[in-house]
């Protein structure tokens, strides 16, 4: 068989790469659309870091009254290979445990998502913090939109944030960001 010439080979390689990129976008979009939606409270961890370029940076963090215990298995899940169990509480979800496997995490909550948990249990009057590392920590938006979200998300000194991340948990257990909600306003990731 005759080997195609260099121009044909270049065009074929470029087409394969372009199709690969399109395929990635479509696959991620489908996984995001078909995943199970969970809503998690978020806050910025440092006002100086909250707005860096054209994205809003946030931390998935729940706060509990001082003296509240950490969820079970909180030190078992590392961000690379752990699973976090989530359970619905009112209008949002909370982390109710962590484990090294998906099956074990599902025994601790309704939804299991890949990631890690960090818990800082403190006595009253301080608050206990539960932070989740799910690989989702920023939303790219245009500058005006990002600044508006920043104002809503910025936590008062020592207080909790006032926003929520809307996350899709796919069949593969990965968290994918669908949007942010803050101050009664919701920003969804759309194609346009």
């Amino acid at each position: 068989m005759r080997v195609p010439g260099v121009p044909v080979r270049i065009l074929a390689a470029a087409s394969v790469l372009a199709l690969g990129l399109v395929g990635l976008v479509v696959r991620e979009g489908m996984a995001r659309a078909n995943g199970q939606e969970v809503v998690l409270p978020i806050t910025g961890y440092d006002p100086r870091e909250l707005l860096t370029g054209h994205y809003v940076q946030f931390q998935i963090r729940s706060e509990y009254p001082g003296g509240a215990p950490c969820p079970p298995g909180h030190d078992a899940a590392t961000p690379g290979d752990g699973w976090v169990a989530l359970t619905r509480r009112g209008d949002h979800h909370e982390a109710t445990g962590a484990a090294a496997s998906q099956a074990a995490a599902l025994k601790l909550g309704e939804v299991a998502v890949r990631g890690g948990m960090e818990c800082h249990a403190r006595p009253a009057p301080e608050a206990t913090w539960v932070m989740l590392h799910l690989g989702v920590d920023r939303l790219h938006a245009d500058q005006t939109q990002a600044e508006a979200i920043q104002e809503l998300l910025r936590a008062p000194a020592g207080g909790a944030g006032r926003g929520y991340a809307i996350i899709s948990v796919g069949a593969d257990g990965r968290a994918r960001l669908k949007g942010l909600a803050a101050g009664g306003r919701r920003v969804d990731l759309l194609w346009f």
Partner: protein, 354 residues
């Protein structure tokens, strides 16, 4: 080090001057040796212009981030990539080799940017290491498709950046593997020889040196042995490249230089490990460096000579340290050595001018 072509050009001018060869045969003789031509200033500027055009496209998308809808941004980025690759195919079909190489390099860079920008446009979370490696593989694919050394060099740089990024955390049972440079650098060296590319030889030679620390996870408590082994392997590769200079000319010469640097550098590094540390190691390093200087002078190879000179200085410092000489004595020894080196350099410069 003068290449065969440069030496032949000098000799031809001499032979033509003496009437041994007709002047009209000069071009035909030079073309018959088939050595790649060096890009002139205009070509170099065109290369820089092409690369800047790629950066301009990405900057344009970034500058109008808020105004351009997501899908349009993605189409723009893809269009820039396909445009550069299409241009490379067009240039290649018309025999414009340099233009083809430049545009294919731009395509490789735009694709690397496209991976990052696509992640931003659609908020697709991912590991930076995976993104860099994917971009490196894409550049390698374009290089192989177009038989083009420059995108291959771009790919090696991207793979090197990927190797030095923090990857996903490995579980206790998962195997510890070296970085991708361990495979990519030798392949890059082979392609540099096959395609007679000095640019790729430079990048692949440096990549071979940088590949060594990526074995760190495999030799966690045996850094000295790792560096010593790397020195032996790189030294053997340098000897092979030296041997291949007659056949592969300049690219083999470039590899010879960088591999000599690597062999001396990692031999020096092995002396910082407790097992190998000592006066004996420093003296061996000093002797090796002196040998490399002599070899570099004999081969008229500046890169090899420079490796030996730097090795001599570093080995000397290591010897003083291992002997426990005080800082003041060390300062005096190095000051005297510097004066001698400067004096010799001054005398040599004077002789050259004369």
């Amino acid at each position: 080090m003068a290449s065969y072509r440069q030496r032949l050009e000098r000799d031809l001018d001499d032979w033509i001057g003496r009437g041994l060869v007709p002047a009209e045969s000069r071009v035909a003789i030079l073309e018959s040796i088939g050595e790649g031509r060096r890009p002139d200033a205009a070509t170099a500027l065109a290369i820089i212009g092409g690369l800047l055009a790629g950066v301009a496209v990405i900057a344009f998308v970034a500058a109008n981030w808020g105004e351009i809808p997501r899908i349009a941004r993605f189409v723009l980025v893809l269009g820039a990539f396909l445009g550069a690759a299409g241009g490379a195919a067009w240039a290649s079909a018309r025999g414009r080799t340099v233009t083809g190489h430049v545009l294919l390099s731009v395509a490789a860079l735009v694709f690397a940017a496209a991976i990052g920008l696509t992640g931003q446009i659609f908020d697709i979370a991912g590991e930076p290491q995976a993104a860099l490696r994917a971009a490196g593989l894409a550049a390698a694919l374009l290089a192989l498709a177009g038989r083009s050394p420059w995108p291959a060099a771009v790919g090696l740089v991207l793979l090197a950046l990927g190797d030095f990024q923090d990857g996903p955390r490995l579980g206790a049972d998962e195997p510890r593997l070296p970085g991708w440079l361990a495979v990519a650098a030798p392949l890059g060296m082979g392609l540099a020889l096959a395609w007679r590319s000095q640019a790729l030889a430079h990048v692949a030679g440096i990549a071979a040196i940088l590949a060594v620390p990526t074995f760190g996870e495999l030799f966690r408590n045996e850094a000295g042995q790792l560096f010593l082994g790397a020195s032996v392997v790189l030294g053997a590769a340098a000897a092979a490249a030296r041997f291949l200079r007659d056949r592969f000319e300049a690219p083999a010469g470039v590899l010879y230089g960088w591999l000599a640097w690597g062999a001396l550098f990692w031999f020096g590094g092995s002396g910082f490990d407790g097992d190998l540390k000592g006066v004996g190691h420093s003296i061996t390093w000093l002797a090796m460096s002196a040998g490399v200087v002599a070899l570099g002078r004999q081969d008229r190879h500046a890169l090899v000579t420079a490796a030996g000179v730097v090795g001599l200085l570093a080995a000397g410092a290591s010897l003083l340290f291992n002997l426990g000489v005080g800082l003041m004595t060390s300062a005096a020894v190095f000051g005297a050595a510097a004066l001698v080196a400067l004096g010799v350099a001054w005398a040599m410069r004077g002789r050259t001018r004369a």
